[in-house]
Each structure stands twice: as C-alpha cells, then as structure tokens.
Symmetry: C2
Subunit: 210 residues, 2 copies
C-alpha cells in the first residue's frame, strides 16, 4: 500500500506534566511505527468542567503522589526536572501560541510544544502569559516569531476552540491522550501499549481465551 499511514493523534494540555513526559517519547514511537504524529493542544480545564473531574494538583492524595511520580519518571527517563505543577495561565497562553504556529507549520508547532513543556517542567520557566509564550516561540526563529504574533487573531483562537470541542466530542477526558486507528489510549503510561498495539495491528483477532 502506498497510501499515507493514518496518524497518531496526541492530545495534550500544556499544564499537564504527564503530557510533557509523553511529549518526550511519543515522536520516537510514531517514527518506529511509521506513523505521522498529530499534536493536538487542547484545554483540559474546559473538559473538566463538563466531566466533573478535577486537576491532579487539586486532589489531596493523588496530587502529592503525582508530584513524586513525575519527578521519579523524569529521573527514570533522564530528563531535567524542576516542577510537576505548571504555573497558572501557562496552559492557555502556550496553547494559543501553539495554534498560531500550527496554522503556519505543524512541525514548527510540535517543536514549540516539546520545548515549552521541557522549559516549564524541566527547568521551571514561567511561560504563563501571552508575551512570555511569544518570546519563547521567537527562539525558534523568525518564522515562529511571525506566526506567534497571531496568537490572539481569530484563526488561532478558533483553532484552539475547535480542538478543545473536538476533544470533548471525541471522548477525550484527560491528558495526555492518544488515538490511533480509532483506539483510545489514556495516559503516558499507555505508550508501551500503544506501540505494541500498532506493531501487532491490535489484538482483537486474538479473541478471548476464556
């Protein structure tokens, strides 16, 4: 078959530390599986209002555990680590700039996303308002700087709104979330399963053993 392989959709929120860990791994997995990767930044907080779920950091026991778990994951994967809690505002500011870049160049937007999450969680950068996010984007070069300037223009705002709506309609209820060939995978810890699923073409044909 010479048709383009179907992409892996990578749904993420810039404020989600597990999205960051996933972002450091998922491109390699897509490459190994010969799949394009579609980076989709959405606003998890908007979905939480619909599902009644709460951010990890607001859940007493799970929040403390997650902070420890993210630090441990970072050490395990030899990533830099500064914090598991994104500064307030960074999710929205970075998502706005991401979509402005994405309209110009999806690959540039993906580079921006990976770099911004590593800056936030790995190095403690505070990219929590639009100017800070735009300045950060400009480090990727003049094309990025020019595109980031449109973060508050209608096309970028509409892209973010539509992506978040698509997440809600698609049953995405957390981040990171992956969809490949219609199969949903929730959480960074599902990446090995996603890769196995893609390599083996799913396991429905194995049937039930019972």
């Amino acid at each position: 078959m010479t048709s383009t392989p179907a992409p892996i959709a990578f749904w993420f929120d810039f404020g989600s530390p597990y999205s960051w860990i996933a972002a450091t791994q998922v491109a390699d997995i897509a490459a190994r599986c010969g799949r394009p990767l579609h980076w989709r930044a959405f606003l998890l907080g908007v979905l939480f209002r619909e599902t009644g779920m709460a951010p990890l950091s607001e859940q007493r026991l799970r929040g403390a555990y997650a902070a420890r778990d993210v630090a441990r994951l970072a050490r395990w994967h030899e990533l830099p680590f500064a914090t598991a809690v994104a500064p307030p505002g960074c999710s929205l500011a970075l998502a706005r700039v991401f979509h402005a870049l994405d309209l110009a160049s999806p690959s540039l937007a993906a580079r921006f996303a990976a770099a911004a999450m590593t800056a936030t969680f790995g190095h403690g950068a505070v990219l929590a308002d639009l100017p800070a996010a735009q300045v950060f984007a400009a480090r990727l070069g003049p094309e990025a700087a020019a595109a980031a300037a449109g973060a508050m223009a209608p096309p970028a705002r509409e892209a973010l709104r539509a992506t978040t709506q698509a997440a809600a309609q698609g049953g995405i209820f957390g981040a990171p979330f992956f969809v490949a060939d219609g199969e949903p995978f929730w959480g960074q810890d599902r990446l090995p399963m996603l890769e196995a699923w893609l390599r083996e073409g799913g396991w429905s044909s194995r049937g039930k053993v019972s």
Copy 2:
C-alpha cells in the same frame, strides 16, 4: 547480607479489575527481584468515602474507557476475560474470606486471591456473598475450607478492618497500589517502573540533570 529482603506490599481490592491484572503479574516481579510479596486486601470503597474519589465504573467517560482498557489489557496479556465490573458485594465477601485464610496461611490467601479475581473478571463468576466466597475457597482444599469458615469471626473481621485503616493511614488512595522500601507506586501500569526501581535501587542517586 543474609537478612530477609523487605517485602513488596501489594494493596488490592477484590472489586478492582486493575488489581486483577496486577495480581497476574506481581508475583513474578517479586520473584525476579528476590523480594517477598505481601498481599494486602483492603476495602477501597471505605477509602473513597474519605478521599472523595469515586469508583471507575461510576465515572461516565473514564468508566467506559476502563472497561475497554481492561478488556484490551487482558487480550494483551493473554488472560481470559469476562467483565471489567465486579458484582456488587464481591469486594467485601472475598476480602472477608481472604483475611480468614491469611490468618491461617498467607500463601494460601494469596492463591485464593489470585484465583478469585481470575474467576470474577476472567470468567464472570459471581462470588458476591459470603457463602459463595467460602465455597470457592474450599476448592483450594480442606485447610482453606476450614479457615474460610472463620470469615465472620472477630479475628478475620479485625484483620480486614485494620488493613483498611492501615491503607488509609499509609496514603493508599487507589488499587492496585504497591509500596517497596517506602516508595509508593499506584496502578497496574506502574509495575514495570516498580521492577526497574527495585533492580536499580531507585534513581535518587542519579540526581537531577537540569
């Protein structure tokens, strides 16, 4: 060193399908790492009342996802599969019998736990009241049958109560949950990380790379 290695504590609830998947894997991990395994059945529902969390099956989107995810995990690991939702009452009935067996023989209790969860989730058995749970235990032999008869006696009831209280006091907020050398791991999907942690003696000595 000739002292006994510290055990891995395996906290589980009989109504948790992810506890079942973990139960099919954790004994092998403990054996590979040269650690004893301490099976600790507790009542997750009691903890939920304290943490404000809810069972997966009562969460709209997550519940539907979890049902699909457990079925998929079972296929991946070539386990039998019947349901991801335990019958009401099975968590309490099986935990009572487990603790009666555990007082007589921890290894017998562990065999019972593994078999009962595979029966429940793998084959759709309804072990949802005390007589059914006791009859199931009796299949493991006369020692199990005799011990299971004490499921409503004060020692077994007190063991279940104390274990659930120890879970709450120990910060256990979900199932399955593992603790090794003081390090907490939540979820079946953390088993590879638990094994890596034990093999490498943790990663705190690696320090931060930032």
